[in-house]
């Protein structure tokens, strides 16, 4: 399969449609229970860290913008360590893909179709995803632009429609339980920012790398805003006490809104969750697969690789099915997801190694010339 690169807008909208699923729907219940009212503070603290993260990713990527990540990792760390890093990243992306299916199916079963068998939901969704996976990263990224634009503009309608019902006094008291919950919240939100590691695996299509960084920083700001508003909105609507009892609080927000002939607006929540999960599942899977089986520049379409791809995706879908069968398993996977926040250190590590290498190279050149 030929090497696929991402344009700046494709990478921007990819971050705009993948991260908000976690920040908007999946993590909200956990954030309400751990941080409570001070969630906005935890997000604000992590925002500069996320900006530093994308800078580190961009700086590492800039070293060889057109190369695949395995090649880049091998260049930086050598063959054995580069392979290990590639494997870790691939497994992480495949885990994200699998967990996305589980979160979506769990969400649908609780909020909409309690009687529909889990396998029907997983199978139906997986077939759609398989088609996109076969099409490749480029097509998925281009789809993300369309879906990202629509969700960016329609998302604010929920905020506007629910505003009259909100009691902003629920934001008080500030730091009621001190800074410890904020620390926990920082850790949880960092696990969301860790997903940006997928940008490491995307070769640049544009020849002007600085524009990528500008758009990524803008994306961080918008995502931070989109992480604060649903959690604080839920607390403003339901109060902290009742909100902490809800399994999917943001979906409950859309359930109480009605718009003219649309008696319940939760269908919008379902739509957005499905769009975002579709991109998450397919993009992360395809990127993870390409790390394990790097595409060569002039490789022709390979039936064998497609079969491997389909089998691997079927395996992940099967694991997602087993997890989604019980909500407690989904909660455990969510906790595992938050632990993966430790991977946020990887780009900084690579940046340090890159800096050391450049320093050593510069010193050697200086010695030679002298």
């Amino acid at each position: 399969m030929p090497l696929e690169k991402a344009s700046r807008w494709e990478s921007f909208f990819a971050t705009m449609i993948t991260l908000p699923i976690i920040g908007h729907a999946v993590l909200v219940s956990l954030l309400v229970r751990t941080v409570g009212r001070d969630e906005w503070l935890a997000v604000l603290i992590t925002t500069p860290l996320a900006a530093a993260l994308v800078y580190a990713i961009w700086r590492v990527r800039k070293e060889d913008p057109q190369a695949t990540f395995p090649a880049l990792a091998k260049k930086l760390l050598g063959r054995p360590l580069g392979f290990v890093l590639t494997l870790v990243l691939a497994l992480y992306l495949l885990f994200l893909s699998m967990s996305s299916i589980a979160f979506l199916v769990d969400f649908i079963q609780i909020s909409f179709f309690p009687e529909t068998p889990t396998f029907a939901l997983v199978l139906f969704f997986a077939l759609f995803c398989l088609y996109a996976i076969f099409k490749g990263t480029k097509v998925i990224l281009q789809t993300a632009i369309v879906l990202g634009i629509s969700s960016l503009f329609t998302g604010s309608t929920v905020t506007m429609m629910s505003s009259p019902m909100k009691d902003f006094g629920e934001w008080l008291p500030f730091l009621e339980f001190g800074l410890k919950p904020v620390g926990l919240g920082v850790w949880v939100v960092l696990s969301m920012w860790a997903e940006l590691l997928f940008l490491l695996t995307l070769p640049f299509e544009d020849t002007n790398p600085p524009v990528y960084l500008k758009l990524w920083i803008i994306s961080i700001a918008i995502n931070a805003f989109m992480t604060i508003t649903p959690t604080m909105g839920v607390i403003s609507l339901f109060g902290l006490g009742f909100a902490s009892m809800l399994t999917y609080p943001t979906e409950e927000t859309t359930r109480i809104i009605h718009l003219f002939i649309v008696d319940r607006f939760d269908i919008y929540g379902l739509m957005l969750m499905t769009f975002g999960t579709y991109i998450r599942t397919t993009l992360y899977f395809r990127l993870g697969f390409d790390l394990l089986f790097p595409p060569k520049q002039k490789q022709v379409r390979s039936t064998f690789l497609r079969i491997v791809m389909a089998l691997l995706f079927a395996l992940l879908a099967g694991i997602a099915y087993l997890i989604a069968k019980q909500h407690v398993r989904v909660e455990q996977i969510l906790l595992l997801y938050t632990l993966c926040g430790a991977l946020i250190l990887l780009p900084f590590l690579l940046l340090v190694i890159l800096w050391i290498k450049n320093k050593l190279a510069a010193r050697q050149i200086a010695l030679k010339t002298s």
Binding site: I110, S111, F112, F113, P114, E115, T116, P117, A120, F124, L127, F128, Y131, G169, L172, P173, E176, L237, F238, G239, L240, G241, F242, M245, E252, R255, I256, R264
Partner: protein
Amino acid sequence: MKIHSLLLIALSLLLSLPLTGCWSSLELRDAAIVSGLGIEKVKRQTYRLTVEVISGKNTQGSASANKSNRILFTKSGHTVLSIERNMIRDVKRRLIFTHAKSLVISDQVAKEDLFWLLDTWVRDQQPRLIAYLFVTPDSVEEVLEQSSANQTSASAEFPLSTGAENIRFISNYTTPTILEFLKNLFEPTNTAYLPMLRIKSAQSGQIVEYSGTAVINHDHMVGELNTKQTQGLVWLINKEMGGAIDTFSPVTHRRQALEVTGEKTDMHTLFAHNRLLVHFAVHLKGTVAEDATGQDMDQPAANREMEQAIAKQAQDILCDTVRTLQHQKTDLLGVGLHIYRTHPKLWHKLQSHWDEAFAHAKITTRVDVVIQHPGLIRSIYPHLPLSVPSISLPK
């Protein structure tokens, strides 16, 4: 290439087919749409559930055209789910609660086991949190039966919730949705209120009237407020959306009425010498709805006189409400919540004995009334002399 295109088309059709309906779809003819529910306690751990189902029969032009298209079904059991499923044997269709907008519970259930229904109601994905919850001391079945008697067809299916949505025209009953009710209950003070329904005999028969408010403290009903006290509660918690106050002029002893168009309440709290001091400043504004004093309502003096009379009437109502709530040791006024938000350390000191602290607090009120205009006429009485109106500076 041709096979590939054919496969693609076949796949698209295959994936589109399930989009036409869900796995567990239910045809409308197999569904019984519930518009309201009633719960009564029969004996220990046994409850009676009454559902009103929209029948869908066309009664236009018939002798019973005034009657609503609703049928009541009743069943008893231990849990909501078992009763609801067993009811299918009577109804012959699956009950659908997505459009149920009103729940009526007996005062006994409110006093003993408020969450019996709410637990299932909130867990299930069919019912809505924006439905209304009512308490009644009368028979729940009769309340549901009579609630739509003599209703026009527009509101016959959802009479109780339709009435709740007309709160902007009258403000002596409260209309919290289940969401607002649960939100209040989950606040640190653990108090809430619910509107009450009573059956009243009228010339046309029995009618169901919104009458009073149930006072909820720590998950069960501890008392109630009458209609006038409910009016005071509405003002104190800043929920006034429109209503009326009437009084008698202290000078002429003739009736006057103000149509309230807006309200704002400010609360100030102070904790000094181990005692809580609370002051409510209520600002009401409105227009003259009726004035039998015959005065020219363009004159500042007449305006002031009516404002003072209305303010005194409102003040009496507020004092009565505060007294009753303090006697019932239930803070429905948001005092505890205000302290929790602004002085959390003080709240944590008072939390364990908040009901007592509230009961012994010194709560004062002050009412300011502003008459915006007298309406289209200054006075209906023709004995008003013609004269140039005097100009005076606004207060």
